[in-house]
Symmetry: none
Subunit: 215 residues, 4 copies
Amino acid sequence: MATESEAPWRNVGLDRTEQHRLKRYAVLKAASRAFAQRGYFQTSLADIAKEFNLNKATLYHYFNSKEEILFEIHVHAIASITDDESMRGRVGSGREQLIAFIDRYVDMLIDDFGACLVLTDIKPLEKASYDQCVAGRRRIDSLLRTILREGMEDGSIATIDPKTTAAFMFGALNWICHWYHSEGEITPQELKRRAIDFALRAVEPRSQDTPARQP
Amino acid sequence: MATESEAPWRNVGLDRTEQHRLKRYAVLKAASRAFAQRGYFQTSLADIAKEFNLNKATLYHYFNSKEEILFEIHVHAIASITDDESMRGRVGSGREQLIAFIDRYVDMLIDDFGACLVLTDIKPLEKASYDQCVAGRRRIDSLLRTILREGMEDGSIATIDPKTTAAFMFGALNWICHWYHSEGEITPQELKRRAIDFALRAVEPRSQDTPARQP
Amino acid sequence: MATESEAPWRNVGLDRTEQHRLKRYAVLKAASRAFAQRGYFQTSLADIAKEFNLNKATLYHYFNSKEEILFEIHVHAIASITDDESMRGRVGSGREQLIAFIDRYVDMLIDDFGACLVLTDIKPLEKASYDQCVAGRRRIDSLLRTILREGMEDGSIATIDPKTTAAFMFGALNWICHWYHSEGEITPQELKRRAIDFALRAVEPRSQDTPARQP
Amino acid sequence: MATESEAPWRNVGLDRTEQHRLKRYAVLKAASRAFAQRGYFQTSLADIAKEFNLNKATLYHYFNSKEEILFEIHVHAIASITDDESMRGRVGSGREQLIAFIDRYVDMLIDDFGACLVLTDIKPLEKASYDQCVAGRRRIDSLLRTILREGMEDGSIATIDPKTTAAFMFGALNWICHWYHSEGEITPQELKRRAIDFALRAVEPRSQDTPARQP
DNA sequence: GATGAATGAGCATTCATTCAT
DNA sequence: CATGAATGAATGCTCATTCAT
């Protein structure tokens, strides 16, 4: 009547701390998938534990609270953008940087962590964690705005309001999580191509925009 | 700590059925605001009742279930788009229709019902209601796609994939709910102007798009 | 959306008090049927009211409480036995009286009130009403016991313990409510015949019982 | 007025699964007593929990729902009859088998589970469980009918309709739950004797029944 | 008489979290 | 590490009853 046997994560031969890190990560991954799909509050810790044939209580060896899980997912997803090498040392025209940004950002979005970042609310977090996440999001926001601004300077991007434009562009991208399923006909590569195409159309200078754009 | 005095909604002098309708509407409005802000599951019926100094149970005189409240909000929001006169008898070029569509759609989004439509999941709904909502959303989706297609035919919109483009555009617009607050510096009018500007840039034909499409 | 028209009990032309009595009776009848079928607590006043296209609150013009309805049903059912003419002035041998008793008792059982009497618990009643019902039941119990005793005296019934025998016999009869449905193949007449047959077998003197029973 | 000290069931030194089984059983026992006395719907899980100084929620470690508790009680009670060794390999004349059956059946009835079986309705059960219980009850019913039929064949029981007779007999027996209290003057042994006596009288052949059935 | 509105009390169930083993 | 046991706080929902109209 119980799920006795079937031992939780058959131990791979690894040292203690490494194992701990791996298990933590596995839980985070599963949780982010679940949160993205069903929502944070609709996902119980029991649900997550069940995926690993673990007991609910065991999760508390890895995390202090459900909130912490949500927090770490967000931190992880944010880092995957802000810590990206190619992002930090940006090269090329604003237009080229934008392409690179979207390429990277969509990669994040179609990953479990990224989807969770975009789909779940961080209001449940306590103030300190909340603020940290907001700061991280703001950093990503800044990144795009800066790229747009640089593009405007080098003439590769039309003269537009960077703040509003970034907001609309994040919307267009983030919403991908609501309709894109990686098992569908559109490959991630193709998705990225289309996203870039849409974005470029929206921000590239048009002939009537800048009557004077010389080399 | 108790709900002492302060009688629940002092009755205005109106006949009963009219009062009933008004109260129902008021609850729907309050609920959509709460659902949009805190989420459907995080909003208890007690929360909503408290806003009107009403007892939890009284809500059941107006609605059969929490689910029904969510359902009616979605129906209401969808109707505000699909039932719109100006939408049904569409006139003008695709480009002009697009402008009209966005104008109307953003109006909906900055309304409580619209925000709820975009921000809350309908998975909690039972199958029949769920299907009805999905159908409604699809109708809105079709509307935009049709407009894009007509614009492509009359040359006012660039040759693009209507499906993907509509998806990105809805993303850009829907996301407004996440960052726009009507009390801020941007007026709804201005917001709509910017949304239209962004959208037009993304879909208007550019010189290099159609090297040849003049008569 | 409401059950507006379809006026509650189209008024027959009768004087006030008579109408009142008739309506009261109709409610009692419907309630006893519902209580017997679904149970007292599983039947809400709204359920009963709905049968008459009445509002829940209207029932309070006829009864002071749900409890009172239950009480009156029991009183009514008990009276249908204890007030029976043929019971009060009993004639004939014990055996003949027993036959008459069962005939009458089964009539009650297959009636809505009787079924409710046997199938619903009176514990929800307040002490005074409870006691009155218990007394009524006891009176019926006494009736049967007396009949048995008289039968033993006149030799038409075997020498047995009247108390226990009455208990078993009431069980056999009352249980009819659990299995008999008047729409089935067995007619009420036939049911009564079988009940009487069973009961007589159980109490009639047998040759070995009373080696000395002379005319 | 609060559930202060008094630790919930002090643990006896037993392995966990065994303890689990025992506690489960204890809850079932208490529940069946409560259901039989006050009814299924009138008994709240809090009531049952309180008996063990347990929190309401703790019961959900042992049962998935209140319904499951009711179901298990019925299964348990039915099994106590149908799984009985002496019932399965039946020996002796129909008359002797009947005596054995009643002996066993009354044992069940004066047990908490049996009383609950007879006194509570299974309508609250979901279809699958409901059907299983109905099947179980039918099996018990068949048992008695078969015994009666066999008795008719071997001449130890009068020629009667087995179906109706079984129905009356079950009524007589089941009703015991309504009037018998094991703390009273009648011992279980004596109760069984009287039940058997009553039943035999009702079904034993009488001289006038079968004028001729000897070899 | 009849009814819509309103309510307080209650109930089954869920869940994050703690703790002893 | 891992887990079964236990709990307090919520939550959606029901219902008998009251009351103003």
